[in-house]
């Protein structure tokens, strides 16, 4: 995938999806786009449709109602798609670990390429994570 990766590296399009988070990770993801952090300087931008995306960025502990949609969206994504789990929620469930409405962790539902732990991860950590993903494309 040499040529493909080389092109992908310059413009990673991200589709952001919330699967029962507390909203905080999502806000921090949006924060990345604003002048303080300005993620777009790396060619990374959020897109409106999963069909345009190279990266599926998921927050939240994966409630049962939404898990079905998570899998559906993953199936709709053009492959290869990189799945990024942001926050402790999709990784270990954070404080919602024992919730009856939890169908996570995320990697039980779909394969995950990158974990960014933290509750919420600091924006710097998220940038670091996404850059690692870019580095992996080399």
């Amino acid at each position: 995938m040499g040529v493909y990766n080389r092109i992908l590296k310059k413009s990673l399009w991200v589709f952001h999806m919330s699967a029962s988070p507390c909203n905080n990770c999502d806000i921090e993801v949006l924060d990345l786009l604003t002048p303080g952090y300005d993620l777009e300087r790396f060619g990374i931008k959020l897109v409106g449709s999963i069909r345009h995306a190279d990266v599926l960025l998921i927050t939240g502990m994966g409630g049962c109602k939404i898990s079905e949609r998570v899998v559906r969206l993953y199936n709709q994504a053009p492959k290869p798609v990189f799945v990024v789990a942001v926050g402790t929620c999709p990784i270990g469930g954070a404080t919602f670990k024992d919730s009856y409405s939890r169908c996570g962790p995320l990697d039980k539902l779909i394969p995950v390429n990158l974990y960014i732990p933290g509750c919420p991860p600091k924006p710097e950590a998220m940038i670091e994570g996404l850059l690692k993903l870019l580095g992996r494309l080399d």
């Binding site: 589709f15 952001h16 999806m17 919330s18 699967a19 029962s20 988070p21 507390c22 909203n23 905080n24 990770c25 999502d26 806000i27 921090e28 949006l30 924060d31 604003t34 002048p35 303080g36 959020l46 897109v47 409106g48 449709s49 502990m61 409630g63 109602k65 939404i66 949609r69 969206l73 954070a94 404080t95 919602f96 024992d98 919730s99 009856y100 409405s101 939890r102 509750c119 919420p120 600091k122």
Partner: protein, 402 residues
């Protein structure tokens, strides 16, 4: 007779936070009815709380919402202290109010930015969030985290306020006051913003009362309720502030209420840090146990009144924990504020109560009665209307000022 058209909105939005689903029934471009479906975010917090100890519960309710991460613990400790009749040291009361007001500022700024984005003023979005960043930085200096502060505990707070931060806090408040007054002035004089927001999504006073709306949503419709004044807790009875009330009930009034509330909060923050200089003493009272009984706690969150009810049987866990969040009562006001409006105004009306979700659009093609395509999505439709207005009115003052 045109046919009714059902427009499904949701549950995923490309740009924003939460998943929510709306079914909008349309007649041409006019909204007839709006229905919503929730449950995408269900995390069973009340049930989880029953299996957690009181101390853990505070951390759990903090994670109900990432934007209101001081409001829920605030109301929760109020409820627990109500059961045990716990006294809180004066210093802790001030620190609690300080965190509460800081949160109000960052939450309202967040809303202002998103509202700008919804009507196509992305400049406003970027600027509002840029000013939000120093606030988060100051919060991080005070509490140790940008969000999810973790400072509340039964009987007081966990972390003391360091007086040497006063300079930095004052600096940020000065900067913010200047910028906010500028944005307020620009927004209030801007012809485009006015025509997009004035008279849109009106919630009358009667409806606000009937639907039990709270917070800025109610205050913009002329209902002067505010827990901070009506039933003071923490240090609010010692502080000097006004509650902002507007009569119009439209989206513009809600915007104005929020902007002016931020200025009030800045005033409060200044008073608090000044007084913290002179007040010394412990930051918490040790609480050995919570007796059997029940208690309620309220807090005026940025979006309205948060209400917690906790029943304890004398063990270390709540046996019932009931939470009522403000969005839950504010969101149903769509039923009266949306019908009869243009579809392009729905987006901003949905956003105007500052719901703790963000609504979403799907790629649905919409055709008018002659078969021409109206729009693919709601956000685009809303933003296009602003562009049209700018064309009609010419470049506005806002651009020049920003």
């Amino acid at each position: 007779m045109s046919e009714d058209f059902n427009l499904p909105v949701g549950p995923f939005h490309p740009l924003l936070e939460e998943a929510e689903y709306f079914k909008i029934t349309l007649d041409g471009e006019k909204v007839k009815e709006i229905e919503m479906e929730t449950g995408w975010m269900h995390r069973a917090i009340e049930k989880l709380s029953e299996s957690n100890t009181f101390d853990q519960t505070i951390f759990l309710v903090e994670r109900i919402c990432g934007i209101c991460s001081a409001s829920h613990p605030f109301a929760c400790v109020n409820a627990l202290e109500d059961i045990g009749n716990v006294e809180i040291p004066l210093r802790a009361r001030y620190i609690r109010s300080l965190i509460g007001e800081m949160e109000r500022i960052h939450s309202h700024l967040l809303w202002l930015g998103l509202a700008g984005h919804f009507i196509g003023y992305d400049t406003l979005w970027m600027w509002a969030w840029k000013y939000r960043e120093p606030i988060l930085e100051v919060i991080e200096l005070i509490t140790g985290n940008r969000n999810h502060y973790g400072v509340f505990r039964i009987g007081g707070v966990r972390k003391d306020y360091d007086i040497s931060l006063n300079t930095r806090v004052n600096e940020v408040m000065d900067m913010l006051e200047k910028k906010l007054s500028m944005v307020a002035k620009a927004a209030m004089d801007d012809p485009v913003l006015k025509s997009r927001l004035c008279g849109v999504g009106i919630l009358t006073k009667e409806d606000a009362i009937n639907y039990c709306a709270t917070g800025p949503t109610a205050r913009a419709s002329g209902v002067a309720i505010d827990v901070r004044k009506d039933e003071p807790y923490a240090a609010y009875d010692l502080l000097d502030f006004d509650i902002i009330v507007r009569e119009e009930g439209d989206v513009f009034a809600k915007t104005v209420v929020r902007i002016l509330e931020m200025l009030e909060s800045i005033k409060m923050v200044r008073q608090i840090i000044e007084r913290l200089r002179k007040i010394s003493g412990p930051i918490y009272n040790d609480v050995a146990e919570i007796p059997a009984g029940e208690g309620i706690g309220r807090h005026e969150a940025p979006r309205g009144e948060v209400f917690h009810y906790i029943r304890s049987d004398g063990s270390n866990r709540p046996i019932r924990h009931k939470i009522r969040a403000p969005s839950y009562v504010n969101i149903p006001t769509y039923e009266v504020s949306c019908p009869g409006m243009n579809l392009s105004d729905v987006m901003i009306t949905l956003a105007s109560v500052d719901p703790c979700y963000c609504c979403t659009e799907r790629s649905v093609k919409l055709f008018d009665s002659k078969g021409t395509e109206i729009a693919q999505n709601l956000l685009e439709l809303s933003q296009r209307k602003t562009d049209r207005l700018i064309d009609e009115l010419g470049e506005s003052e806002l651009w020049k000022l920003l």
